[in-house]
Amino acid sequence: MSTSSADIIRGTADMLILKLLDVEPMHGWGIGQELERRSRAALRIQPGALYGALHRLVREGWVRSYWQTTENARRARYYALTRSGKRRLDVETETWHRLAGGVALILATR
C-alpha cells in the first residue's frame, strides 16, 4: 500500500467530503476509500482527520448522520448532505476554482 500519497491539504477536506456526499450518502470508511479511488491514490485522509471533519460538518449542519445496515449486513454510520450543505459546497467549490485559477496563473508566470 502506498505511503507516499499526500495528505489532504488542510482546509480542502471539508469541501471534498461534501462533494463526495453530494453524489450519494456514505459511511466514513467509504468516504476514505472513495477519496483515494477517485483521486487515483493521490489523496489520502487519516481516520482522525476524516472523522473529525465529519463531526464538524454535522455540527455545522451541512451533513446529517444516521445508522444504517451496509450491503454486508453490518451497522455503520452513514453521512448525507443537507440542503445547507449543498449550498456550502457550491460556495466552497466556487471559492476553490477562483483560488486554483489564481494559483495556476501565478505558476504559469514566466
Partner: protein
Amino acid sequence: MRRIIADVLFRMRALFGTRAQRELDDELRFHLEMDAATLRARGMPAADAERLARRQFGSLRREAEQVRDAWGVSLANEFVADVRHALRQMRRRAGYTAIILLTLGLGIGATVALFSVVSDLLLKPLPYPEADRIHVFWSDYDWRGEEYDFVRQRPGVFQHLAAFSTNGAPYRPNTNGADGARLLPFVVATSTLFDVLGTRPMLGRPFDAAEDRPGAPPVIVISYGMWKTDLGGERRVIGHRIMLDGEPVTVVGVMPRGFYFPTPDIRAWRPLALDPKSPMYTSGYLTLIGRTGAGVPPALIESDVRRIARALGTRFTYPVAWDKTRNPYVLPVRTYLLGDVRDPLVLLLAAATLLLGIACANAASLILARTSDRGGEMAMRRALGAGQWRLARQVLAESLVLAAAAAVLGVAVATAGFRALVAVLPLAHGFAGTVAIGWATFASAFVLALLIALLGSAAPIRRLVGSGAAVSRERSEEGLRRGTRRIHGALIVSQVAFAVLLVVGATLLIRSVDNLRSVDMGFDPHGVSTFTLVTSDNMTQASETRFFDAVLARVSALPGVRAAGLTNRLALRDEGYQGPMGIEGRPDLDGKNRPNSLYRTVTPGLFAAMGMRVIDGRGIDSTDVMGSMPVTVISESFARRMWPGQSAIGKHIYSGWSGKMVALTVVGVARETRMTTVTGDLPFTMFVPRAQQATNSGGVLVVRSSTPPASLMPAVQRAIAEIDPQVAVARVETMDEVVAAALAEPLRLRFFLTVFAAIALVLGTIGVYGVVSYAASRRRAEFAIRMALGATPKRVLGEVVERGLVPVVGGVAIGIGAAVAVSGLLHRFLFGLGATDPVSLGAAAGVLTAAGVVAALVPAVRAGRTSPAEALRAD
C-alpha cells in the same frame, strides 16, 4: 438558524451523552474492521491484516481522543469530563477523600456557624435607630431616684436621659380570668425611655410624662411577642386591661416586632413613677441611659460624664467603698447588652479559624502529595499532547469537587452545631432566640470552600504549569524536589503550630475546670430543689408571712423532705446588693470606710436545706422573731477580717438597710459559702432572720429531700398553688442545675476547645504521617541501594524520623510562641492558673511532639525494612 440548532443539538449530545462517545467508538471500530477486511481480501492472513490495519489506524483510543479533541466541544464538556474524572479518583481513593472531606467539613462548619452567630449578635443593628448615640451610665442597677432627678437637670451632651430597672410580677391576661398567675418580666422606666431608644410602639402610643407620676392610673406598653401569644394579637388590644400584681393595668401600646430592651425576655414596659416621698427614692436600683446629640465626639461625652460625676460628689456623700463619683464612664448600648457574649465568641471564632487553618494545610498537603504521586501519569499525558492547562484544570476540578462536597458537609455540621453553639454562649435573657442560621451562612460555606479549593490547588498547579517535564523526572530522582519539600515543610509547620495553639487552649481550660470543680462551695447542692416565688406587691407583710409559714409547714410534711427554708436570694444565681455596715470596735472602718456586705434574709431551715454549716455560735433560730433581739450570722471571712484573733460572737454590726440604723448582734459564724460566683472574690455576707425583717418581696424556697428533686417538684408546686393561687412560681431549678449554670461557660468552652484540639491533634498527626510517609516512599529506591551497600536499617529509620521531625519541632516552637503571645485572649476564662501556665504549654508541646514522632516512626520503620530487591523492582 438550522445551523445553530444543529450545533446546539450536537453539543448537548456530546455533553450529556456517553451515547455520542459509544457511537464514535462503534464507528471507528467499523472503520478498522473494514480496513482489515480489505487487507484480507488482498490475500493477507487475518491476524496480520488486523495488526496492520491497527497500526495504520493508530490506537483506537487515541484516534477517538483526537476526534473528540477536534470536536472542540467547549470548555463545559471538558469540565464535565474533569468532574467525572475527579469523582472516579475520589471513589478510588476513599480514605484520602474521607480525610479531606472530614477535615474541611468540620473546619468550614465550625467557622461558618460561629461566624453566623457573630454576625447576628455583634454585627446586626440593634432595634434602636442610631444606637451608637445611646450610652449606659456606669454603676449599673445602682442609681437612686434622687440621683436620676439630679443628673436629669444637668443633661449636658445628652439629649434624652432615662432611668429604668427590671422587675417581675404575677399577672393574668384578663381582669376577669380565673386562670393561674404567671410571672411577667417587665421594665419600669421613666417615660423618656422611648425618646432615648428612639423607638415608638407600632400600635398605640408610649406612656407619657403624665402617666409617669405617682398615683397616675396604671398603664403598660407590651412587647410584640406578648401581644401575639398572650393577648390574641388584635388591634383592639389598646385599652385592654390585664391583671398585674393584683391590679388592673391598661395596655396603651405594642412595641414593634423584633424590638427588645434591655433583653429579649422582657415582655413589657411600665412607668417608673418616681416618688420623692417613697423610701425607694433613696435606694439604688436603677440604671441610667442617655442619648447624645448626633456627632458628639467620644472625648466630649467623656468629659461631660466626668462633669456629672463631680456634680454628684458635691450633692451626695458616698462611702469610700461605694463612691460612685470615682470612676465615671459610659458604655455604648451594644457593649452593655452583649458585652458578656463577645469574649467567648471571639475565643471560639479564633479556635474555629485555627481548625480551619489546619484543615486547609492538611487538605493542601494531601492534594500536593497526590499530585506529585501522579507525576508519572501527568507527564505521560503531557507527552501525549495534553496541554498544561488541561492538566491544571483537572487538578482544579478535583479540588473543586472536593470543596463542593466539603461545603455540603460543612453546612450540615454548621446546621447541627449551631444550636449547640448558641447553647454554649452565655446568651441568657432570650438572646439565643435572636440568632438564626440562614442562607448567608450556607453561601459563605460555599465561598469559603471555593477559596480553600483554589488555595489548595495553587501549589500543585504552579508546579504543573511551571515545569511540567520536571514532574516526571522527579520520579527517578533522589527524592523530592527542594521546592516541594519546602512547601511540605511549611504545611507541617503551620498545622503543628495551629494544633499546639488549640491543645494549649484545651489543656488550660481542662486544668481550669478542674480547679473550679475542686472549689469548696460551702453547701451541698445534691438533692436540693429551689422554687422562686413572686408574690403580689399588694400582699401585706403579715399575709405574706402567713403564706410562707403555711408553705414551709406543708412542704416540710411532704414525704422525703428533710429540710425546707426560705431566702431572699439564692446562692450562686441571684446577685444581691451590697451595703455599707458599721462595725463595733472598729472606728477606723467608719464613715466612708465602712465595709460592704451582702444581706440575706433566711428562715431557720435554710442552712439545713442548703447544707451550710455554722462553725461558731448558733444559726438562725425560730426564736428570732420581730421584737426579740435583732441578730445576724456572718460569714467566716467577714468575722476574721473585722475582729482578727477574737470571736465575733456577741459583737455588733450596725446596718442601715431598713432605713434606720439598727444594731445586729452576731450570734453565729457560718462556714464560707460561695454566694455570688464560683471563682470571684468572696464578698462579706450577713444572714439575718426573715422574721425580723420588714419584707414582702417574695423569696426562694429551698427544699432538701431524700427523694429525687424531679419527683418532689410537682408536689411542692401543687402545695403552693393550693395555699395561694395568686403567687407565681417564677422558676423551678435543682441546686445542681444552679451550680452547673454557674460553671456553664467554662465547662462548655472547655468542651468545644477540647473537641477542636482533639480534631487538630488527629489532623496534625495525619498531616505529618502523610507527608513523612510520602517522602519516605519516594526515597525507597535510594534506601534500597544504600542498604544493599551496607547502611543499617537504624540509620535509614533515623534519617526519616529526623527529616519528619524537624518541621514538627519548628511548628511546636512557633505554636508555643504564639500561645504565649495571645494568652491575653484566654486569661479571663481561666481560674487558678495563668494563660501561660507552663504545665499546659509543656503538655501541649509534649503531646504534639509525641504525635509527630509516632507519625514519622510508622513510615520510618517501613523504610528501614525496605528489601533492596523489591524496591528496585518496584520502580
